[in-house]
């Protein structure tokens, strides 16, 4: 199947600052794709190029196989939901939503029905005559979405649409957006710097930094198998540690050998290891317990007691943050971030274990440039 | 093509705005009294301007009145803002309403109203009545520049200063005033400019023989303009350019520093 949107070797600079460099991406029909990255990573520029608000310096944009690189935004069957809603302040809600339909010369009856339908879709039925400034931020956001989808675009571009909303409202809107996408069957291209939004809503997440794609995949892939330290660090809290890959399925972390499941990194190679805080298993050890050397040695093959790697340390910080406690544990010369529903007070001596499946091995970037290296799609 | 049309439009407007001024500047260097025929370069009109007691006195009057009116209006206006800021909302809006009257009213009405009042109360028109009148129409500008700064004032800073042991006066001087300074400066500059630029109010309230640059031009325009005024307008234009250029440069630099 041919992709709905295809970005081919796009480069773009603003005043000598290269924002995008040879960027390529394909978006399939009906996909909810999220461009995720810190500010300045080029994600908004991509959205604006797709919307037609910026022309790429190099490269082409295809829509249903046709080159639309030079097509102005008012000719594209693509609509945008802007970051700060960009509702027309001098029109009421009905007029705002009807704006695009009026331009395409639809009949009054059609427009009236469509506006009504769009308002119903965003749960704001009967708001036609209201003024923009009488609405809350969340309501304005819904109107902005209604104004875009009423034109039945093939693609909806959303530029951090939830950025200005508070947490509770944001979560409600996330579900709303998923529902809308499923009901309307349009392709969403969503831009955000909020990893939680990206993971909750998307079919596919594109993690970006410095104008390059760092990793692309399903939310699960991105979260569980980050391909490099940037992705790991950007997606959720992580422990990213220097380690040595002793051989296939054996990694040495803080001078302690841990079994893992990764292969093919070679022997005695320096690698980065990612361990999620919730994957750290904490066990309380007696005050006077002195770990014996054997406790930290991994016995190959016998498959019993010491199948896990193990480090010993002390809890140095402990904060209750809702569902669980977030702790810092000094162990093996590294400060580990750990989460647990059980409270281990500061000063508690603990052992920490990680099961092999939760140890994610990544190649170490050699230089800064390589860190921003484009990963093959 | 579109760009060309836009550029041409801007060019036409610039031409319209500057050609008349430019014409005056060119003929200020003309060797004769003619205002249409170029008879050779000369600086005679500048020399004549500098030695014409009428012009020199008019320049002197214009600037002394503007400085005095600016200073008085700024002091009275800033003090008033302090007072108004602790008043009730109702008295504030009442005072601000009256404050807006001279601002919105036609100059000619302000002028004749002040002139009649002076004469009714037995005050002879003089240099002083011009000054008093200028303060009257400058005050609203000062209030409008300073008052918004009062609204933005972080009152906690003042309270923090008191909390740290400052006397109210010291706290005002060291904490509040610096925050108000931009408003006060722009208020003074606005008052100064309005005063320099005024003709109508001065026309009605000046005493016999008192001339400012504006009234001098007006009376000469009736009997016949001499090129000394072209020289004067060239000097004024260059001065405006320098003053605005410098103040732009300063504000740009202070923004950069921030």
């Amino acid at each position: 199947m041919q992709p709905l949107i295809k970005l081919q070797n796009i480069s773009k600079s603003f005043d000598d600052t290269q924002v995008l460099d040879d960027f390529s991406l394909e978006v399939k029909e009906n996909e909810f794709i999220t461009l995720l990255g810190p500010s300045g990573c080029g994600k908004t520029t991509i959205l604006r190029i797709v919307g037609g608000f910026e022309k790429p310096d190099e490269g082409r944009v295809f829509f249903e196989g046709k080159d639309i690189t030079a097509m102005p935004p008012n000719k594209r069957h693509i609509n945008t939901v802007f970051q700060k809603y960009a509702l027309f302040p001098h029109m009421n809600i009905g007029q705002n939503i009807a704006f695009g339909l009026k331009i395409s010369g639809k009949s009054d009856q059609y427009i009236r029905d469509k506006v009504k339908y769009a308002l119903k879709l965003v749960n704001l039925s009967g708001y036609e005559k209201r003024k923009i400034d009488s609405l809350s931020g969340g309501q304005q956001q819904r109107i902005a979405i209604a104004r875009a989808i009423v034109n039945e675009p093939k693609v909806l571009l959303l530029d951090e649409p939830l950025g200005a909303l508070d947490l509770k409202l944001r979560q409600d809107m996330e579900y709303e957006l998923i529902r809308l996408k499923n009901e309307l069957g349009i392709t969403f291209i969503y831009v955000t710097h909020d990893q939680e939004e990206a993971l909750t809503m998307s079919d596919k997440v594109v993690v970006m930094n410095g104008g390059y794609i760092q990793q692309m995949g399903t939310p699960e892939q991105i979260y569980n198998e980050p391909e490099n330290a940037f992705v790991a660090d950007f997606i959720g809290d992580s422990n990213i540690i220097d380690a040595i890959m002793v051989e296939d399925r054996v990694v040495k972390i803080c001078n302690t050998v841990f079994p893992c499941i990764d292969e093919g990194f070679g022997r005695n190679r320096h690698v980065d290891v990612v361990i999620r805080p919730e994957d750290i298993i904490i066990k309380r050890v007696p005050e006077d317990y002195n770990p014996k050397v054997t406790d930290t040695v991994f016995n190959f093959g016998d498959g019993n007691k010491n199948t896990l790697g193990r480090l010993f340390g002390t809890v140095t910080h402990n904060v209750f943050i809702g569902v669980h406690y977030e702790m810092e544990i000094e162990a093996g010369g590294f400060t580990w971030l750990a989460q647990n529903t059980v409270n281990y007070p500061v000063g508690t001596k603990v052992a920490i274990d990680v099961i092999p499946e939760n140890i994610q091995i990544m190649n170490k970037p050699q230089t800064k440039d390589e860190e921003a290296m484009e990963i093959d799609i | 093509m579109k760009k060309l049309i836009k550029g041409f439009y801007l060019f036409l407007i610039i031409l319209f705005l500057y050609l008349p001024i430019f014409t005056l500047m060119v003929f200020s260097f003309n060797g004769s009294k003619s205002m249409s025929v170029w008879t050779g370069f000369s600086t005679m009109w500048y020399k004549e301007m500098a030695t014409d007691p009428m012009i020199v006195e008019a320049i002197w009057n214009t600037f002394t009145i503007a400085v005095a009116a600016g200073v008085i209006a700024t002091v009275v206006g800033t003090l008033a803002c302090i007072g108004i800021s602790v008043m009730s909302k109702r008295s504030e809006s009442l005072i601000m309403g009256f404050n807006n009257i001279p601002l919105l009213n036609a100059d000619i009405v302000t002028g004749i109203a002040l002139m009649m009042s002076f004469l009714v109360f037995g005050i002879t028109l003089s240099w002083g009545t011009v000054l008093l009148s200028h303060v009257t129409f400058c005050l609203p500008y000062v209030i409008l520049s300073v008052m918004p700064k009062f609204k933005q004032l972080t009152i906690t800073n003042y309270e923090a200063a008191l909390d740290l042991g400052a006397t109210p006066l010291y706290a005002f001087w060291k904490v509040v005033l610096p925050e108000l300074r931009p408003g006060i400066i722009s208020g003074f500059l606005l008052a100064f400019t309005m005063s320099v630029d005024d003709f109508v109010v001065t026309h009605f309230t000046r005493g016999a023989g008192i001339n400012t640059i504006s009234t001098l031009i007006y009376s000469q325009a009736k009997v016949g303009i001499r090129p000394t005024l072209f020289a004067l307008s060239t000097v004024i234009f260059v001065m405006v350019l320098v003053v605005l250029g410098v103040s732009n440069f300063i504000s740009q630099r202070s923004e950069d520093e921030e």
Binding site: N74, F99, I103 | T23, V37, A80, S117, L139, S233, F237
Partner: protein, 271 residues
């Protein structure tokens, strides 16, 4: 607290002495005869042919000048906004710089150019044509008004245009609007506060001027401002002058109330 309020005393005194009392004096003279008897004559005097004509002509010329200023200033502001020249303060500076030049000097410049022996006629006659009657016409007065007050129209319109969020314009394009449509349906309605304030700042001084009409009309064309001025200088009839001023003020207040409705938030405010 009360001490701080006292700081406003000099200002309040000044308002009373410089604004309230003088307006009262105008009111007093406007409604009395020279012998201090109450009368409406000074007010109804507006209906005499000479006065009515002066008022109507002033209204007409002021309206024409305001319209011309708007027609010139709106595209200018649009160009400044769209070309990005607006961001560079320098371009805007060029268009409002003349505002800081003495207004009498600016008017005088046109007097010099339009005069019988002035620059334009010198050029015309040198090409072998008959000299034109340029000065002392209504056209010359309108030209002077437009020239003097154009920056006052440009600045507020430009300010409101620059305040419009780029996203709003992009949203309109995004929804399929053409360039023309964006101007008519988005930019024009959104700059109404600026237009209203620009119109006030051009219309009121144009309506009440006596300087421009005197310098460029050669004393032959009388506007209401000229009539009033003459009552205080040459004719010395304060009562009639005050009465006519009151009439003129009705028009000022009326036009302001009309326009302030369009600029509720004071967005287009100049200061």
């Amino acid at each position: 607290m009360t001490f701080r309020k006292l700081l406003a005393a000099p200002f309040i005194f000044w308002i009373i002495a410089g604004t309230v009392i003088p307006l009262g004096v105008i009111g007093f003279y406007g409604f009395t005869t020279r012998d201090r008897n109450f009368t409406f004559e000074n007010i109804t005097a507006i209906f005499t042919a000479e006065h009515a004509q002066a008022l109507l002509l002033a209204l007409l010329l002021a309206a024409i000048s305001t319209l011309i200023c708007f027609v010139l200033a709106f595209p200018l502001s649009l160009i400044l906004r769209s070309s990005g020249l607006g961001q560079k303060g320098f371009m805007v500076f060029i268009f409002i710089l003349p505002m800081w030049m003495n207004f009498l000097l600016r008017t005088m410049a046109w007097q010099v150019i339009l005069e019988k022996g002035g620059l334009i006629n010198a050029i015309i006659t040198s090409m072998g044509f008959e000299p034109l009657e340029l000065i002392n016409t209504s056209g010359a007065i309108v030209l002077g008004m437009v020239y003097d007050f154009l920056p006052f129209m440009v600045l507020p319109i430009y300010n409101t245009l620059m305040k419009i969020d780029d996203n709003i314009i992009e949203a309109a394009y995004d929804l399929g609007a053409t360039h023309k449509r964006v101007i008519w349906n988005i930019l024009l309605p959104l700059s109404i506060p600026g237009i209203a304030s620009g119109v006030t700042m051009v219309f009121v001084p144009a309506l009440t001027t006596f300087v421009i009409s005197n310098m460029l009309g050669g004393g032959k064309i009388n506007l209401i401002g000229n009539i009033i001025e003459q009552e205080f200088t040459t004719s010395a009839n304060w009562n009639l002058g005050s009465g006519l001023s009151l009439i003129m003020m009705i028009f000022i207040v009326g036009s302001m109330m009309l326009l302030s409705k369009l600029d509720k938030e004071g967005e287009g405010n100049f200061i």
